[in-house]
Point group: C2
Chain length 520, copies 2
Amino acid sequence: MNKLTNACGRILPTEISGYGRVTPYTTLFSDAPALTRTMPAKSIFRPGISKLRASIQEAIQSSNLQDGMTISFHHHLRGGDFVPALVMQEIAKLGIKNLRLAVSSFFTDKNETLLTYFKDGTISALETSGIRGMIGKEVSKHGFLSNPIIFRTHGGRARAIEYGQSNIDVAFISAPICDEMGNMSGRFGKNAFGAMGYPVADAHYAKTVIAITDNLVPYPLSGFISINQTLVDYVVVVDAIGDPNLIATGATAMTKNPNDLVLARRVTEVLIASGLVKEGFSFQAGAGGASLAVLSYLGEYMKEHGITGSFASGGITSQLVDALEAGLFKTLLDTQSFDAVAARSLAKNPANHLEMSASMYANPHNKGCVAHQLDMMMLGATEIDVNFNINSLTDSLGYIMGALGGAPDTAAGAKMTVAIAPSIRKRIPIIVESVTTICTPGESVDVVVTDRGVAVNPRRQDLKEKFLEAGIALKEIHQLKAEIEQLTGKPDRPQFSDRIVGIVEYRDGSVLDLIYQLKS
Amino acid sequence: MNKLTNACGRILPTEISGYGRVTPYTTLFSDAPALTRTMPAKSIFRPGISKLRASIQEAIQSSNLQDGMTISFHHHLRGGDFVPALVMQEIAKLGIKNLRLAVSSFFTDKNETLLTYFKDGTISALETSGIRGMIGKEVSKHGFLSNPIIFRTHGGRARAIEYGQSNIDVAFISAPICDEMGNMSGRFGKNAFGAMGYPVADAHYAKTVIAITDNLVPYPLSGFISINQTLVDYVVVVDAIGDPNLIATGATAMTKNPNDLVLARRVTEVLIASGLVKEGFSFQAGAGGASLAVLSYLGEYMKEHGITGSFASGGITSQLVDALEAGLFKTLLDTQSFDAVAARSLAKNPANHLEMSASMYANPHNKGCVAHQLDMMMLGATEIDVNFNINSLTDSLGYIMGALGGAPDTAAGAKMTVAIAPSIRKRIPIIVESVTTICTPGESVDVVVTDRGVAVNPRRQDLKEKFLEAGIALKEIHQLKAEIEQLTGKPDRPQFSDRIVGIVEYRDGSVLDLIYQLKS
């Protein structure tokens, strides 16, 4: 088999069975070939025809789902999602096999019931942003899927769907509120989850779109319509699309962990020293404890200096809603509301808490995504290497347990990207020679902040000078790694077989890295 | 040349020079061949690149506009629109010739300056919903365009753009409020026009999209975004995109004309007698005097009987906003706000005054448009014939002076379509043997209401029975025609040459009728 090496030094085959030809990753913004976006053939929908189907099974039958086709789900119902299990159960009953599952991501709890369908051949291929829980562990250990899993970023998924690299036959969209023509939104209903950014591409490009709701309202749906009737084929009413208690447990909690607070204080110093925290700046951070603490410290600084940010983006938390309502940011741009406060805010703050599709958020190949407008973004990591590559998908034992999310997208787009991680996690050093899996290429990571020091990517001498000027102590990343290893020792590396179980695509569709099955 | 006859009895050539193969109109909902929707190739937009261009000329140059390409405008700025003239002036200066102009429609005043560019060959082809003013007169008289004008309904235009029958190279979109990435809306700014339903298809499918604004605001635009940054290539700031006094002169005025009031009273009786005016019914009427009076009378009936309508659609007037705010209708679905009150209401009533694209409004070939959900719609006419065909495009002298608008779309979709017209206009009878130009096929017109009587389409025996039961006096359409002709005499018919100057497409792309140049 021919091999090639990508710009991160990863050796890749030129072709992978169950995937096709490999385009190696070259650089953050490469001149990809021009592809045309093709949407499915038109429908002729006469007046008086009903889209309502009496059951999920009837809707599946109407969609003419066949062996080998691709279906999709989105993960806005998070840990409380009933829909994939409800649908897969009916598909299995119909005896349909060998499906490709193209989900926006996977959450732990409810989706574990899907393991059965992976094992019995109902599902034989998977495209996702990440996998948490048992499915990831099982794939890493036993590699039971016949095709390697394709991991895509949130922006990369929208791009792949728009340009026909991910061809969805039937999209199942969970709708907390929906009318009989399929106008829907995530804003209202007992299972309201807020922004509905991920399935927008599915709705536009899937051949058949099935809305599944537990809250059918009279036509036309009032208030904001996230996905409209022109895109939906069938509507099914079920008792419950989810468990509201597991979608989001109130507000995301701020950390009280003293290590996180030290880390957050240091990150805030770095942000300020960069000179980017000024009137009209834009910001993205995750929902991790340290990120939320950064927002809190940064908010204090902004108030003190009378600075108003233009927007904060990505997954939106109650802390960002507080910041919006306190006037610290002018606008929130939301693909996924991380908690109940954020979900409610979309309806409460319609003028400045805006929903956006994953394509608007992060697709690198449209006419300009929000991620490319960011001044600064923060991301977490399971591992960081001396080339500033970030792993967020596999753990130190080599198991798949995380996600790409929007981090590679926003890291590429932001003027400054800061990776935040504790130096040691469960006695394992976080800074390594080479990460197990490259998820965000080091080319897009500017600063690494740990509790044992701050390292700046050598590409960013400009930032280095600013930080030194501000009195921030810096370390070379190799020095940081050595110091940490003096405490932990060199960790054992996981041992892999040569069977490819996962392919990590960069947001533009090139291949960043491969994930192999663990040696038994 | 081979000829064929369509279902309305019009004789058509099989092929028309400058147009191509003719698909004859067959019926309201024909099984058209499945066409794939193709959007232009992807763009690679790197962070830090500006979309701002210093002038319209620079934006045109950036778009690489060439001889023979297709450009588009939308008509939401109505009589106060500066943009087409500003753009055409620059195109002419650059010496670009032979363009195809694909506009959503034409209004009178400002667009007459475009006549020059039609005459000097800068523009050689036109696609539009209608033409008012001098351009129509000149085309009918002198046929100065080398290609026949294609007339499309609002829904038909969205369909033609989506399915690649109208391929726009460069779309110019007038934005009353816009940020530097091209997020825009019609809701705010000195030239706010309200809903922005027409250029949505242009924004999605044109190869290059240029936003022209007189109100650039910091990124990201707050409030509702009608067309977002993922679709826009360039942004140009000009002094003024329009004259607010000519966009909409306050509120549309209710008629005091006693004939109109009699007509409106009769229409209201017909609507009520149909049994369709009940809880949750939906409604569309134009902005003509009689239509507004119908809404007023109907509102009284609804209040009296405690009836709340579900939605009113189409162009939205201040009278419909009043009805919404009085709780008579639950929702307004708006492609174009007809007056300043309606334009302001979108921001004032965000939960139940919703903007929709022309495709969502009326495209027959998506997965279900709003037009197909209507219970009743009213339309005006310049002529009505004994087959219930409606003319709204040419006058009795044969001059092009009107538009198709959304009438053929909503007439097809509504459960009951009522044509309203005075029996005589300027001594000319309105009911004729055969309309000069078929715009809305009689198959979709159920009732004709004139000041000299009501006629029901023989296809609708069900309605006939209901009206008789309610004591409404009915006349056969031939009888109505004869009575009117007794007063007016048989009118002279305009004399046409055999040169085709216009093609009237039905909403599905088939050909309903042809417009010929007048004999000189």
